[in-house]
Amino acid sequence: MSTTSDTIAPRQIPDRLDRPLVSLVFSWEALLVLVAVAIFVANSLASPYFLDAWSLSDLTFNFTEKGLIALAMALLIISGEIDLSVAAIVALASTLMGMAVQAGVGTPGLVAIGIVAGLACGAFNGLLVTRFGLPSIVVTIGTMSLFRGIAFIILGDQAYKGYPAGFAFFGQGYVWWVVSFELVLFLAAAIVYGFLLHRTSFGRRVFAIGNNPVAAQYSGVRVGRIKFVLFCLTGLMAGIASVLITSRLGSTRPSIAQGYELEVITMVVLGGVSILGGAGSIMGVVLAAFIMGLVTFGLGLLNVPGIVMSIFIGLLLITVIALPIVWRRIKGRRAA
């Protein structure tokens, strides 16, 4: 600055101060790894059937479908929005695939219908939220009833069956030995979403919107457009999950995937994504998916009834919303 009498040389500001190793050890993800290992050990002690390649393979089916939706949901929640209609999208997409089967559509056509139906439902949510400025929690509670309601009207208390043999691969097939197609798809999608969120300018803008939508808009981020894309992606993943679930079950009932939205959101929040938006990582969500799979499978091995599991999921959701807050407080105290 030339106006002050004694000019101070510009200071060199370092890029970073954090030691990466220290912040890694004290990260939420590190805690999740510990929890996963602990549950894994507990399971193998509790049941002699647990430590078996096929057992472990079966375990992955407990989280791959929900995990696929959770990957997109993570981005949506980071941006400050939410989609409660994902399970209903699964049901509607499955119902449309069932109708197509009755009309004689083949496997490629069925997959396309499932995916496009999911995408369309997501776009509908996104349109209502971004074009009309409605809060997403209200919009998607509405579309949750709407989508599942349509499935019920079409199906009544019936079920669609008779999916072609080739269609079974998506939910029942194995790529190699005990490694299922679902698991491979989930891991591949996790890499894609991890890259999208953490390594692209799109992901950076998602974080900016979640932290401060107004300042993001004033910085030239097209907030509405990005949120619309995120709703579409969430619908798309629900459509893909619908293909997998329908293929695995081999039938469609209107009650398919009932209550999945809560498990998906629990996964996302357990993974360290802030329910208020602005923070989170795909690595955390993937770890959380594994943990949820381990827990539900372990409880299953111990013959814990389904209703107890649902109580457990509810408690877990409350705990994981409270835990990050407590964790941050502890971290803050450590820093102080």
Binding site: I13, P14, D15, S201, A208, Y218, S219, A335
Partner: protein, 514 residues
């Protein structure tokens, strides 16, 4: 209350007044930052003490210690000679300390009377709130402080900021607070409202209250305060009577070096029109706005708060929709439908509300700087961190940013440094027109000078600047021409050659010179 009893002469009769509140050897540290070191401060009954210092000097930490929000690491606080401990906000309140903030913390949906008596409402013998007495008492308090025009039953939401301040003071009066802290109370007030506030402070003085007054504006400080205490980098560097001390002396204490010139001198080299706005209108906020901005020019926008200046700028920036009119940039008509459109065209906007619209708090410095430039720092959508750091380093250094690292959360920086980040972010986009809305509001003198010097550099490089400001010295010191707005319309456009401040104020207020 008889305000004439304590005239200035009366004050001089008792020079050795015992302080009401004394802070001695107060220190407070946060991780990595020494906020206050061994400071002292005394507040005297019936006197106003101005607390002066750049942002980051430790003023807000001190206010938080006084209001019981922070606990000092060391030192003593005494009231009327007796040591006290302000261990919570409630304790501070009980000791008769109240604070009136920039944006007063009251309850918008409660009535004026409820706000005044919240927590100590008069009760009936059944233990329920005695509404009738409460209303009567509220009116009485308001009347004593000459604010009888405020209806005790009015909802606070319906009051202007100035009247909200009055309610906050009434609250202080109702608990018989002896120590009143005013933390930049004039920041959001118009000139007339500031006058009313000063009358009120005079009344508090005459009533024997000890007042701590924090402001960045020297004219206000000299107008209303009796004493001063100057902080620099967390230390007390000077105190005394304002009557004995010149403005330049205090400025020197604040910055620790001589600031010989507040506004940079520059040779205006004005070229062809860059931005032409014609007949721009909005259904409610502004009407028929036409002006040209030339290359290398600083165009000042002056007016009272609410004259529609920010709204016009937000329309040019694509945030607010217009109902009629045209905007042309370098001869080409543009119709920005979003900030992204305006930025692509080469128009950027430094908003008035830094925390809400300017910086993304929760994100580090380098991500804030690169946010509008992600297209350039990434390759086909993939982030390149090195490019981002290079960009952030180059532009923050140019603005002389003070920060521990570029990965530091912007929320941990002072207002002045946050403003530098907003400006750095925009310069990195290589704009043609930069609009600054109250660019130095609430920032310290050092940062202010940096921003002003920087504006001069920008226009010298051929950029065009629009500066919305409510500070006359800034308008007169920086602008080549001044557009004055009044009630959503352009009242007049002046050439800033020998322009008279009085003329500007009269035009803005709609006073016709006799």
């Amino acid at each position: 209350m008889d305000t004439t009893a304590l005239s200035p002469e009366a004050k001089n009769v008792r020079p050795s007044l015992a302080p009401r509140l004394t802070l001695a050897r107060i220190s407070k540290s946060f991780p990595g930052v020494r906020a206050l070191h061994d400071v002292r401060l005394s507040l005297y009954p019936g006197q106003v003490t101005a607390l002066i210092g750049e942002n980051g000097a430790g003023k807000s930490t001190l206010v938080k210690i006084l209001t019981g929000i922070y606990q000092p690491d060391a030192g003593e606080i005494s009231i009327d000679g007796k040591a006290v401990e302000l261990s919570s906000a409630h304790k501070a309140f009980e000791h008769g300390i109240t604070a009136i903030h920039q944006e007063t913390v009251l309850f918008d949906d409660l009535s004026v009377a409820e706000n005044i008596f919240l927590g100590h409402a008069p009760r009936t013998r059944f233990g329920t709130i005695d509404w009738k007495t409460m209303r009567a008492n509220a009116s009485e308090v308001l009347t004593t402080m000459r604010a009888g025009h405020i209806d005790a039953d009015a909802r606070l939401r319906d009051l202007g900021i100035a009247n909200k301040h009055l309610v906050a003071v009434a609250r202080a009066m109702s608990i018989d607070a002896q120590i009143v802290i005013m933390d930049e109370p004039t920041a959001a007030l118009s000139a007339k409202e500031i006058e009313e506030l000063f009358l009120l402070i005079e009344f508090l003085k005459s009533d024997g209250k000890a007042v701590l007054f924090i402001s960045h504006k020297f004219d206000e400080i000299y107008r209303i305060a009796d004493r001063y205490t100057v902080f620099r980098d967390g230390e007390m560097v000077g105190e005394g009577l304002l009557a004995d001390t010149g403005q330049s002396e205090i400025v020197q204490m604040m910055v620790g070096r001589a600031v010989d010139q507040i506004f940079p001198r520059r040779e205006a080299n004005i070229g062809a029109p860059v931005l032409s706005v014609s007949k721009l209108s909005h259904p409610t906020e502004f009407d028929d706005i036409s002006f040209d901005l030339h290359k290398g020019e600083i165009l000042g926008f002056y007016g009272l708060v609410g004259a529609g200046r920010s709204e016009v700028m937000q329309a040019i920036f694509g945030i607010t929709r217009t109902s009629a009119g045209q905007i042309a940039l370098e001869g080409k008509t543009i119709a920005p439908k979003s900030a992204a459109d305006a930025i692509d065209a080469g128009i950027v906007y430094v908003p008035e509300e830094r925390g809400k619209q300017g910086v993304v708090i929760g994100m580090p410095i380098f991500k804030n700087v690169s946010l509008p430039s992600l297209k350039r720092t990434s390759s086909s959508g993939v982030l390149r961190l090195k490019q981002e750091f290079d960009l952030a380093r180059a532009y923050t250094q140019r603005l002389d940013l003070r920060a521990a690292s570029l990965s530091q959360d912007v929320g941990t920086l002072s207002g002045g440094n946050q403003q530098k980040i907003v400006i750095a972010k925009w310069l990195a986009t290589a704009p043609k027109v930069i609009i600054l809305d109250e660019p130095t509001k609430g920032i310290d003198i050092g940062s202010k000078a940096a921003v002003h010097g920087f504006m001069a550099e920008l226009v010298a490089e051929g950029l065009s600047v629009i500066m919305v400001s409510s500070e006359l010295p800034e308008i007169l010191g920086m602008s080549d021409r001044v557009v004055v707005m009044r009630e959503g319309r352009i009242a007049d456009i002046f050439d800033n050659k020998g322009l008279d401040a009085v003329r500007l104020v009269e035009t803005a207020a709609g006073i016709v010179p006799a």
